[in-house]
Symmetry: D2
Subunit: 447 residues, 4 copies
């Protein structure tokens, strides 16, 4: 195990996310910070807080200069925050004594860092939205196709009653629709500029609120209308959202691990892993990764939620805790979405195995509940339940099918439907199709 | 330490919540479950799924019967779920063989339990909303009153620059406004009936979706339009909300612990704890409880998020994990809100101590940043910063006030504002008043 | 869900632990605290720190008085700690002005509370040790009995190669042996008196260290040789131990859930739960509870570990966090051990199902690895692996047994052993018997 | 924030650990795996399980070949485990068809990975042991030097009674001594070879147990005497140890943050961070990093403990969860130890500030408890406590020093000692020296 799997040359393709990971490199960090410094200077120049020419100069330079991240390490080791070292390096490379002093004018490190984070989270969210939409779309198609495919519904690992594969797919997909809804609501709370100054009151910046509004406008972020440097609830909310989404995807992964078990085999995965020593094995690798990412997210999130207990106007310990957890939470969730898309698009249900799974021992016990309702037309339900329980026991003891025993004992009753899974699907087809419809609507809304 | 502090006769007043705790007693559990069974029967009777008379009879009886919770323990020990034993006890006490069979018709245990949970969460939420509004109101008043009260802004425990108490109060209050907003959005996703049947497809219930809609209507809950028994994202979302709120309240508690420290003493609490052996001590007990509840919530939530990785159509292990964590999360957050209200209404700022805190060693160092900007009018900002750093060093070495040294060294500059905290409040008063306004608006919207 | 399942009349038998729970009631709390106050007074009396008669009087009274826990609630609500109110109530009920002042002489609340906790943890540990020994014993017997019972080894839910049931049982049992070893090592670090005074230096107690030693002696606890009020590592270590043990038991529960799945059914549980609506179902309820307790413990433990970040000489927030989590962690682990004992003693392996599970589709694929080694005697291993992979593919495509295809293709090779699970058990029987032996040794050491 | 701070060129010096991080690179992973494959082949060759010449050849080659980690990425993306791709690449580069087939003979991927992990953990532990010893040594010296330095003991942030700085340092150091003890005990359980085969029974390896013993011997690891592939308790135990140690170090960091607060300033740090905008500020950066690493560890550990709930003979999801968390837990703890060493060696106590801190408002209230005991020589203790409480109130109301008021009111009593902190140190000097002695003993034992 290398230190960080997503960044590993070996494990990166399994656990990492090239597209989102690109937003969390040293170079991306520096680029985003410079972008914010540049936009700030331009906004201040336009407002006359600093010389307009300096604003323009700094803004342009911020997009063009190359600053070596490694050169900032000493400064970071001393003060933890990257901005002082970056500002010094930037000023130096500017080589323009008349403008350089106006870099980072009246701002504090956290202003630049929080805003640069918001910029990158916006990009990460855009990528996730696309993947979420694609996963939902694939699940919608799958649900529709298999709206009427009967399979065993299982609780506690035990076969309960028949259901439809499409309904199970809806169990995977509907939470994703809700996660999309939650994301939409949290974006304005998360994707905000930070411009607060040393202790939140912009005391060192003339026209602070106007500059903040202009900066927000320039960067395409929201203007929070105040400081939020010590109000970490929205960062925590986003961590919670990532965690919730990871868990919903992990549920899909967990179900896939269960349904691909040898002896069950109701799903086959397009891609699955081989063994180093067992030629016949196909391991549900990607579903297992989904579960691992979901579990890891739940743990990381405990740290993120605690980090919202932020002391006073700035709390180094709490803030650094965010740094340690948030990027891997974003990348992990991004990877989970990519895996989910691949699985949703590539999963191959085995309808025959599903049908076999409805009655693995040939005793027809899955019809027990339905039988009890069928008999309840002829006797009180509690009696019917007792009768069915007795019939089930006999079926198991004598290894004779429940339908046969039931028909013998109750010639008066019409039991055909009870033992036909296709007639026991209940609302499953409707649930599947309703989800498919919602998925299509979400897709067209997203266009 | 008794097993569960909220239920303890000793610790209940400190850590428990009588009002919300009442929703999570054995008796309340039984009552809520019966209420759901009754409403279900009536809905089924009205729709002709069961005899109308049976529906009416069961509905009325469900509100009247007394069932001893202890009598259900054996059944629960065997099957984990309370409903089979409860239904049996209810049928028995009904003493009406013509109606009894129609109790729990076509439903599964989880239907009743999830719906009964939603009923009680609705009540808990109503209580929390009132407390949240009251806390926000008290904080709004506090922020307004102290919009212009200068105090030291502190980062990493170090005095940074002056800010206003009102702005700090806004740091406590604004997240609460956002939590209220989040709660509003999640309610329709959480406060839903569950009517899914054994595996989610209502296969044993005629007119299932219509019954579900009628049940929702009767109970004042939302109709989810499908099953959600295996889609635990909204339960997890609520746990995340409770955790986020607890953390925001814990931040307020943490700040209060810091500001009541001996030698700082900028806040005094209306109620605070004495020591068993030290007569002079007043401990910030309630703020410490806020922090403890916030930390405990973050931990419990890790289990709740993992529980959303729910296997197949029902996963005992995942479901039981919710049972172990959710009630104490609700009660703990409720208690935290009550404490926060009490603290917000009772806290007594010590403006003199705050003023003293702006300059604890009499060297006036808190004006350093402002001085650097004042000097930056006469020299480039980096030079000004270097100059101020040198002056600070001298001030510390010679124990002479920075304002004096600065005035000597820079007679050309106007430094009065730099060393007057009241003129260094920046946007703090505006932030405080903006929050106070938003708090008032929230209050009037809540009316 | 009532507030705290272990205390619930409904859920207590499922999730609670009557024997250990008894140590964590309000009454037990008061009793233990008084016991410590009494022993302290006697030790101080014997040393002449307080009048000897007062020491004897207080000691005897501490064992006899009845103090109503509810009467302490107000005091606790104010100061969080129970001791001031308890001391006041105790002094009052003593009705002996000449002795009463000597109650709690020179001690601080935490001294009494930490020591009283150690007393109760000692009892809880004794109970757990007995259960742990019994579980290990039952697993040892099971492993021995089934040392040669072949079953499918499964990785990623896929059948890998044959193994023996006894070896799987050893996977459950060996960690328990190690947990017993860990517990033995941690006891002297945990079961210690606390006698530290207000800030750890016993400044208000003459002959403090001697009193501490005498108190330890009297209570049968260890003398830590110093204060540990702010050194919470050993409390955290115990929480970690409980968590680790819970996880090991949860692994057993998880395996049992997997092995009782319909269609696999290799284990049957003595006690298992029925369904409210499906007469044929037997749910693995207790194994699911094991998993839930393991997951919940891992979450609670996150809070406990954080609570070891204890500020200065006493940190209310950190300390209260321990109170919120530790009792339920102890009770939950105790319950998990009781369940594990019951499961280990009552589980019924189905050897026929296990045999069937070795070849669920009749294609004999489980022999693939062994076949590759058999063929590797006739060709290089990579070629053998490739050949077996090809044969497996054909077997699946043509639905013909791998043994037949292999025999046809390689008449030169002796393949009998490869396809006989009993000859593929490898070290499984030895591992099973070695564990059984270790379990017996542990049992006789415990006697 | 880059993806993984320890690996970042920017943040690596702050949050990473060059020495330990080197053990968790892609290259180190490959090297360790090859080392294990080589040692295995040699052991098998020596035992005659494979040709001896092949064993020797593979062993030597394993130490010499260069395999590009990036070339393994595709294989890992498919099967998650690195070994199949590595074995294939190794065989290819061997270019020796007569030996190549004997690479990885009868082993499974997890055997190689777990053993390679143990190898690297052994190295990481050796590094940590040295740092732990050095930190303990530095704290011992500090405790000894300041055994008699009075400072305020603080509970709930409130000044309680005087204590000694040396005793506080012992609060930091004694847990470290216990962590060293715990580590010693866990090493034989952790640093073990894994040789289990596909499902734990070595069915594909002749003389399996002998090979395992020889492999352990060759690698300097313990022979577990059986398989532990699905028994993850010892990996979880190590994660718990790392977490516990991180928390103890974070307690030291937290105390340092509190004691360096402006207005308290009782400690000065050798290295502390500047601000980007406030010239006078020195932030306790490294102590804050300690706290952050402690909090992050507690969160990561929740995932690690859950991962011990490992399904059947191999559980991809659980195993991958370990991969995601363990390396950063090791590196983070390593970094925390390095920081702690630096802080322990560099911290500069300010005895004058400590003395001032004993009486920040000049009212002498810190002597209140001692005064109550002094008066208790003249009246019953409860009366004395009431009297002192009244005097404290007057002191605060009249802003007159408590010693003066007490002397006036009680001329009969000798109160000098009560108000002399140096005479109120109690056992603090002894505790400090006892720890210093233990630290020296630990150091000489480590030599």
């Amino acid at each position: 195990m290398p230190a960080a799997l997503p960044d590993s040359a070996i494990y990166g393709k399994l656990m990492g996310d090239a597209e989102i990971g690109r937003l969390f490199t040293d170079a991306a960090e520096v680029r985003a910070l410079l972008l914010v410094e540049g936009a700030l200077a331009r906004a201040q120049g336009a407002a006359g807080v600093i010389p307009e020419l300096s604003g323009t100069f700094i803004h342009r330079a911020a997009m063009e200069v190359q600053i070596d991240p490694a050169g900032l390490a000493e400064g970071v080791a001393e003060s933890a925050v990257i901005v002082p070292a970056l500002v010094a390096a930037f000023r130096k490379v500017l080589d323009a004594p008349e403008h350089a002093p106006y870099v980072h004018w009246g701002a504090t490190s956290q202003d630049i860092m929080d805003t640069a984070l918001a910029l990158r989270l916006r990009q990460a969210i855009a990528i996730m939205e696309a993947r979420l939409a694609r996963t939902i779309g694939a699940l919608g198609t799958l649900a529709e196709t298999h709206a009427e495919t009967p399979m065993a519904g299982r609780s506690y690992g035990q076969i309960a009653v028949p259901t439809g594969l499409g309904a199970m797919v809806a169990d995977w997909g509907r939470p994703l629709l809700r996660h999309a809804e939650r994301l939409e609501a949290l974006k304005p709370r998360l994707l905000r500029v930070q411009l607060a100054g040393a202790a939140g009151n912009l005391s060192a910046m003339d026209q602070g609120p106007a500059i903040r509004a202009a900066l927000a406008q320039a960067l395409g972020l929201h203007d929070p209308g105040g400081a939020w440097h010590a109000q970490r609830d929205s960062v925590a909310e986003f961590a919670a959202w990532l965690t919730g989404l990871s868990a919903s995807l992990a549920k899909m992964g967990h179900d896939m691990v269960l349904l691909t078990q040898t002896g069950i085999g109701e799903l086959r995965l397009a891609s699955s892993g081989g063994s180093s020593t067992m030629p016949q094995k196909q391991n549900p690798v990607l579903p297992s990764v989904l579960v691992a990412l979901g579990r890891h997210a739940a743990a990381l999130n405990a740290g993120m939620q605690g980090a919202a207990i932020h002391g006073q106007q700035r709390d180094g310990a709490a803030w650094f805790t965010e740094w340690l957890a948030l990027p891997q939470l974003v990348i992990g969730t991004g990877r989970a979405l990519a895996i989910a898309t691949e699985l949703a698009e590539g999963v191959v249900p085995d309808a025959a195995a599903m049908r076999a799974g409805l009655d693995p021992d040939g005793l027809g016990l899955i019809g027990a509940e339905a039988l009890s309702f069928a008999l309840a037309r002829h006797m009180p339900r509690p009696e019917a339940q007792a009768e069915v329980k007795a019939l089930c026991k006999r079926a198991l003891a004598e290894r004779r099918p429940l339908p046969d025993l039931a028909a013998e004992a109750h010639p008066e009753a019409d039991l055909a439907a009870a033992f036909d899974p296709a007639r026991q699907l209940g609302t499953a087809p409707d649930e599947a199709r309703a989800f498919a419809r919602a998925a299509r609507e979400a897709a067209s809304a997203a266009d």
